[in-house]
């Protein structure tokens, strides 16, 4: 609802001052009416104090000032020498004026009421939105704490299950072949559960992270991540392309390292079956927006599944046979979300994948 500055100033004066002002204004208009020749009509000028009285003081005041305006108009005309040939003409003239003022005051009053209702509705809506937002924030906070504590508490029984099976397996006492296989399965399942819980804890911690932005050179960060990957698998030959110069960005260095680790590890992993593996990290500006990308020529993915890529523990069918729990890209998405940016992916089966992200414009 738009506020008219003059009106909101007048409203702030208080009813007593407004009443005095309206009455003075009415008197002034009546004086002007009297001072000018009878041919100059002041009918519409009388509407101003009536409108102000109705808007600022209410319907009753509007009607009262309206009746005074009719009386003043008639009296000044009388003093200016206007006479009617017949009493009926006088009555007719006064009655039409009265009706016109009543209608006018009523219209302004209705307008005022609609205006007030609109204001109240808006204020009510704001309160509702505020309350809901608080409720949602609280719920999300509780859910985050809950998922953390569940993941944390589940580690104990998972650990017991897998380690005691391992102890049974390695105890040296003879177990038959079938029991041995079953125990191995329990060990394996326990390890998988533990891996997933570790992933869940990592995601949970990331979702609560508050970025502390500083100036970071993404080229250097990507290079150190790539060096780690090379050190882990010295036997692999991968052509890595990084930007020639520095790439200064304002972001949280620890979170950004996690992001680049996950994206580059992903590219590194899914190019392991390519004959001439190639991984590229770079930046690009299109339509005034700067985005960063990690591109590879690995197994790619079916674009139909692109929205599932970032869901935790969700692995695409094509990822079968590659290590991982399906936490890396979800972690990457979490980091980008904390930075107020966007992360998306493009790819085709066996034609590589490209992950692209933006960071919040620092303005």
């Amino acid at each position: 609802v738009n506020k008219v500055p003059v009106l909101s100033y007048l409203e702030s004066l208080g009813r007593r001052k407004i009443a005095v002002m309206v009455l003075l204004m009415l008197g002034f208009v009546a004086y002007l009416d009297y001072a000018t020749p009878v041919e100059v009509s002041f009918l519409t000028i009388y509407w101003i104090p009536v409108a102000l009285a109705t808007w600022l003081l209410g319907r009753a005041w509007g009607l009262g000032i309206g009746l005074f305006a009719v009386a003043f108009g008639t009296i000044t005309e009388w003093y200016q020498g206007r006479r009617f040939d017949h009493t009926f003409f006088f009555v007719w003239e006064t009655a039409t004026r009265t009706v016109s003022f009543v209608i006018f005051a009523w219209m302004v009053a209705e307008l005022r009421r609609a205006h007030k209702e609109q204001e109240q509705a808006k204020a009510g809506l704001e309160t509702v939105v505020k309350k809901r937002t608080q409720h949602l924030e609280r719920t999300v906070g509780q859910l985050k704490a809950f998922s953390y504590s569940v993941a944390h508490d589940l580690r104990r029984p998972a650990r017991s299950a897998s380690v005691f099976s391992e102890i049974a397996l390695t105890s040296g006492k003879g177990v038959d072949e079938e029991t041995r296989k079953n125990l191995e399965r329990i060990v394996d399942a326990g390890r998988r559960i533990n891996g997933m819980l570790d992933g869940l804890l990592q995601l949970s911690r990331l979702s609560q992270a508050q970025p502390a932005p500083e100036s970071v050179d993404l080229t250097a960060l990507a290079r150190s991540v790539v060096d780690e990957l090379k050190a882990q698998e010295p036997g692999r030959r991968v052509e890595v392309v990084l930007p020639a110069g520095r790439l200064e960005v304002r972001c949280d260095p620890n979170l950004m390292r996690i992001l680049l680790q996950n994206l580059l590890e992903n590219a590194w992993k899914f190019t392991s079956r390519a004959s001439a593996a190639r991984v590229e990290f770079g930046a690009q500006t299109a339509d005034g927006e700067k985005s960063y990308f990690v591109k590879d020529n690995g197994i790619g993915f079916d674009p139909a599944y692109s929205d599932q890529l970032f869901q935790p523990f969700h692995r695409l069918p094509s990822a079968e046979g590659f290590p991982g729990m399906g936490v890396g890209l979800a972690s990457a998405a979490s980091v980008i979300e904390a930075h107020g940016g966007r992360l998306w992916a493009q790819g085709r089966p066996n034609q590589g994948a490209e992950f692209r992200f933006t960071l919040e414009q620092s303005e």
Binding site: R155, R156, R159, S162, F164, L201
Partner: protein
């Protein structure tokens, strides 16, 4: 006589796993298990039990590990007792507080037998072989 190692953990499974791993890692010392912070303090401060070191869990019902550590540091007889923390909490705040109270090493509980054996052999290397 070999001074034993005191393991304080409310979870019997975790305690058993450690004892098994210690045997596997060649840690020759006897291991005494206290299943609560209260029990550990009673053994050491009241009954004169004197371990070579304490391996302490943090999250326990009743007296938590950090409180046990604090009380051990307050008592003159145990001010310099070697204490290791073995907990499932990876939180940095717990690590910092443990270090501040003078724990020698902070271990996060491993999730595999292999990890436990590695941890036990690390401890075996740190502790003197004989008194």
């Amino acid at each position: 006589m070999t001074q034993p190692l005191l393991l304080v953990d409310d979870d019997a499974d975790d305690a058993d796993i450690f004892v098994f791993a210690a045997k596997k890692a060649g840690l020759k010392r006897p291991i005494r298990v206290a299943s609560s912070g209260e029990e550990a303090l009673k053994l050491i401060l009241k009954e004169g039990f004197s371990p070579i070191a304490v391996l302490l869990d943090l999250k326990m019902p009743g007296l938590g590990g950090l409180e046990v550590l604090r009380r051990l540091r307050e008592a003159p007889s145990t001010r310099n007792l070697t204490v290791f923390v073995l907990t499932s909490s990876p939180l940095e705040s717990d690590q910092l507080e443990s270090k501040r109270l003078g724990c020698s090493l902070y271990f996060v509980k491993p999730s595999s037998l292999e990890g436990y054996v590695e941890l036990a052999s690390k401890l075996a290397a740190l502790l003197p072989a004989r008194v």
